[in-house]
Symmetry: C2
Subunit: 247 residues, 2 copies
């Protein structure tokens, strides 16, 4: 393990190992890949764990002649079990090592999704960029409206507490992690524009008191979610019961 406080250099470690895993902040990922890539033995594997995949996989393919595998573990250090957690795999070069990695992860209970870097980054523009962005917008709005949190909690419904948990959880974590995830996704501009458009449209509907249009928009979203709405109602009611039980 090469870290900031080890004497072993990254190129020396890569030269000595079969498998080199690059696990560094997004902003320096490509730089580190260019540094270690040429030292990975051709029979070895170079892999990364970055939250975006197009740029790192391209950088790995360019930096080494070894096998290349992009991965994205879809969970953070706060999970209490690996069982059922998900890892995305993007094969770059060399199926033998990719198959080995897939078997190794599966044996530990992880669930694997294989895809291309482009499809990964598109899905993440929704799964990560959109959801993190909306949480940040909610948080900033709350902070600036000037209603103290304690005052709102006196009036809390279980569903509000659940939403606040989801939002506040985000701000217990690192902005240095989330900033690059959002800034380096190629579709972030598209996502924030769509979010801004939806904000303006819904605000105008509320201001005009147009219930018919409000119901139309509600139905449009309901159609997008489809049968998932029923599952969500059942699952979130289960979770809300757990919150009430714990209170």
């Amino acid at each position: 393990m090469v870290d900031v406080d080890t004497a072993l250099t990254a190129p020396a470690a890569a030269a000595a190992a079969d498998v080199t895993v690059v696990s560094v902040p997004i902003d320096v990922t490509e730089e580190v890949i260019r540094l270690v890539g040429p030292h990975v033995p051709e029979r070895g594997l170079l892999m990364d764990v970055t939250s975006v995949k197009e740029a790192p996989v391209a950088a790995m393919l360019a930096a080494t002649r070894a096998s290349v595998l992009g991965t994205h573990p879809m969970f953070g250090p706060s999970v209490h079990t690996l069982q059922g957690q998900r890892v995305v795999l993007c094969r770059g070069r060399g199926d033998e090592w990719a198959d080995w990695a897939a078997r190794t992860f599966t044996a530990r209970g992880l669930v694997i999704t294989e895809t291309t870097p482009a499809l990964h980054d598109r899905a993440m523009s929704v799964v990560q960029v959109l959801t993190h962005f909306q949480t940040q917008v909610l948080g900033l709005t709350l902070a600036r409206l000037g209603v103290p949190l304690d005052e709102t909690l006196r009036f809390t419904s279980p569903a509000y507490v659940l939403e606040l948990y989801v939002a506040a959880r985000h701000f217990a974590q690192s902005p240095e992690l989330y900033g690059p995830i959002e800034m380096r996704n190629p579709r972030t501009g598209e996502v924030t524009r769509a979010f801004g458009d939806a904000t303006r449209e819904l605000a105008a509907v509320l201001a005009s008191g147009d219930q018919a249009r409000f119901s139309e928009l509600f139905a449009e979203v309901g159609a997008f979610f489809g049968p998932f709405t029923s599952e969500a109602l059942e699952q979130s009611s289960f979770l809300i019961d757990r919150i009430v039980e714990r209170a």
Copy 2:
């Protein structure tokens, strides 16, 4: 119980009862209060269960000389227990009936928050208007980005599933309920403006790649949430474990 399919008229029921509870859609609440209010006996109680409180309580005080109590049950029909659920009480006139209602609710396990109609509506502009609005913006953005839900679910993290449950749950419910809650709160314009401002500011920070400013905004929200962030991380991790366990 007077309903659309009963022969008993609302004024006749009010005249015959000690306690009259108005439980009708927000849009017709004041009209029904004006209809039944004059028939409630002076020794009786007129109460409502509307999700806004300033206008209905004012209407009840004007329509009757009986005791008046505004209430807002902070839970919907999907809860599986009344134990620990919250009801807001706004005393209008007559402490004896208000005390009776408080005792009756408490005896059934409900938790009571007493406040004024103005403070209630201010808190609800956050607890209901802001959270429902942000859920609707997220839903509409998802529907319009054109990435199929199933494709995003292939890449899901437990936290994303939790957020989707919270969002999709909303659209399994009635737009005729949520529309008036958002349209009739006196602070809705203020809330949607603040939300739009936060959207523009955060989108600009992401577009410029300004990590320092991003971290400042993160810290601003973290300071607003205060110690609640730690509770949220702990509680939401507990819930995420329950999701993983159930999957």
